[in-house]
Symmetry: C2
Subunit: 191 residues, 2 copies
Amino acid sequence: MKALQNKIITEGIVLSDQVLKVDSFLNHQVDPELMLGIGQAFAARYADSGVTKVLTLESSGIAPAIMTALTLKVPLIFARKQKSLTLKDNLYVETVYSFTKQQQNEITISKKFLSAGEKVLIIDDFLAYGEAAIGMARIVEAAGAEVAGIGIVIEKSFQNGANKLKESGYRVDSLARIASLSAGKIEFIEE
Amino acid sequence: MKALQNKIITEGIVLSDQVLKVDSFLNHQVDPELMLGIGQAFAARYADSGVTKVLTLESSGIAPAIMTALTLKVPLIFARKQKSLTLKDNLYVETVYSFTKQQQNEITISKKFLSAGEKVLIIDDFLAYGEAAIGMARIVEAAGAEVAGIGIVIEKSFQNGANKLKESGYRVDSLARIASLSAGKIEFIEE
């Protein structure tokens, strides 16, 4: 997606060869027009997939995911992230490790919002090692629902999340794929 | 806003005379069409207010706030919520008490995204005692910017947040105002 690549080039900040900061348009300050474009791009790719729900993880996934859900005319669910959980009644729970924050989180979804037979499009802002996406996919499958695909705004292709997800049989659609952040330079994989 | 009231009546769950659960369309599962309608309603009320940015608090504020920002054609900022903070460089920080969760949170915004002279519309999903809105307003003012107003999806008018904000001189626009949750029954203040 060209508009997204341009935004990453002009506003992305390379913090290290592993970390790209995009807090001016994606995960702190947010560009609503760009989010709408991102939502429309995901929706176009899944127009014929019979998607019944969009699923994301709070907080940074919500903006691109709500625009996807709006365009596909289906509800959005955002999974909740918590440090540790005492009450697990009526919840699907998966433990997810965040390499960025170096901590475990439990992600949860109320059982009443995911049913057997549903087709779920998972959306997230970043794909690095794939932990969050795998956690969400496990929950979808625990509900007896199907993962239609995994839509990612920015894939760090030099980390192994995308490969891992594809090897597990999931369809992955990333709107920007970063080959490398070495030497402070952002290099894309061109489609 | 009639569509919102109807949704609250048909799907809201009264957990106690203080707590209304709306996780089927606002803060866990989210209805994107309703969020767009909410965003358009806020935008219409602030069309002539010279708003330069929309500000909300993660996570439940993001969906209504991004639709408001989209319609007003301005950026959104979502403030981050953290338990406690070690690094405060280049951040505006306010401590906010959550009565629902009975805990203190620090809410933060990067200094680079709020400038003197800006006009900021604060959006939040709920208004109870006004703690989150006041915290956000303090940050806006610490930046030398102005609070254009505070837009609330659901105001619990029987708690004193709205009065407190209005007495402090803020404009408050709530799309649904709940007079009472007594005896399991939702009563609205009709406009």
